[in-house]
């Protein structure tokens, strides 16, 4: 438990550094000629979406390990990543419509990218609900849901290429203006660091919970045997 201390300090420091440095880089980046200042949302919206995808894949990988090998560690990883998926999914689904309101004139369009992203978010919410309230079989049920979430990720990513949509294409990042790249990649690097630290902290917490639950049962057995 003592090992969690530096992790919290690191997470807080990273968030503080990110809050100060990255917005400065983003403000220094040139304005996009068509959308103007609102395009600045892109620099955190896209990294948040990538973290959503990473979380979903990590959740699915842990769930596969738990479902097919009975790995408790896989289950802890899945629990941690699933929650992070919800956090970053909420960030994507709030920042995106705010950008859309200015760029498209509306907060929401039921197009392929937005709808499939919402579906992914809802599956991850379902994962958390099944895990918490699913009863004895809840962990297995949630693990199965995580696999459905992972299947939705390629659909979300390719949706802008497959269907006609108002959302920008996947070529936006590779074709990014060189003067905009430092702001984007620094935001992406920061978000990846924050994600990694949060995942490690949450994983350790889940492991500690499991250890304490076992310890409590052992203590009760010991006390009963002694009385």
């Amino acid at each position: 438990m003592r090992a969690l201390g530096p992790g919290f300090v690191a997470a807080t420091l990273l968030a503080a550094v990110g809050f100060l440095v990255v917005p400065w880089l983003i403000l220094a980046a040139p304005l996009e000629p068509v959308m103007g200042f609102v395009q600045k949302i892109f620099y955190f919206h896209v990294p948040c979406a990538i973290m959503l995808f990473l979380s979903t894949f990590a959740c699915a990988a842990g769930s596969i390990a738990y479902l097919f090998k009975g790995s408790e560690r896989g289950d802890w990883l899945a629990a941690a990543a699933g929650e992070l998926g919800v956090v970053f999914g909420a960030c994507v689904l709030v920042s995106g419509p705010l950008w859309g309101r200015k760029a498209w004139g509306v907060y929401w369009q039921w197009d392929a990218r937005l709808t499939s992203s919402l579906l992914l978010f809802l599956i991850l919410i379902g994962y958390m609900l099944a895990r918490r309230y699913g009863g004895p079989g809840g962990r297995k049920l949630s693990a199965a849901l995580a696999l459905f979430a992972a299947v939705d990720v390629p659909l979300v990513y390719k949706s802008v290429d497959i269907w006609r949509t108002v959302h920008p294409q996947t070529t936006v990042v590779p074709k990014l203006d060189p003067r905009m790249r430092p702001a984007f990649w620094s935001a992406f690097f920061l978000m990846t660091l924050v994600w990694s630290v949060l995942l490690a902290l949450r994983y350790r917490l889940e492991a500690a919970r499991a250890e304490v639950a076992t310890l409590k049962l052992d203590t009760e057995d010991l006390l009963e045997a002694g009385s």
């Binding site: 968030a15 609102v38 955190f44 924050v194």
Partner: protein, 106 residues
């Protein structure tokens, strides 16, 4: 004579319309016409030429600020959530220690 005959026919037709069925048909047709024509009526406005560049009606600053603020609040809230979880686990460990102390097993 011909005019009188036509008027009688028109009155007969009107009497037919005044029946319950006729009124229902008229009401349906009027509703349909209103529904079909209302968008056209809404768009049938005058377009006025504006000189020079029109300023943005929706300022971008608040949208960017809200988006960034939400992202950082969400991440910091999650850190707080983890910290509270750690606190609960520590509390449970203390409870186990107290039980063991009370039983003199340590």
């Amino acid at each position: 004579m011909k005019t009188i005959h036509l008027m009688r026919r028109a009155l007969a037709a009107l009497r037919g319309l005044v029946t319950r069925r006729g009124l229902a048909t008229l009401a349906t047709l009027a509703t349909l016409a209103t529904l079909i024509l209302s968008p056209a009526l809404a768009f049938a406005q005058e377009f006025v030429k504006v000189e020079g560049k029109v300023a943005d009606e929706v300022p971008a600053g608040p949208f960017v600020a809200i988006a960034y603020g939400f992202i950082w609040i969400a991440i910091l809230s999650y850190v707080v959530y983890i910290a509270r979880g750690v606190g609960r686990v520590r509390g449970e460990l203390e409870e186990v220690r107290r039980k063991l102390d009370a039983a003199g097993k340590r």
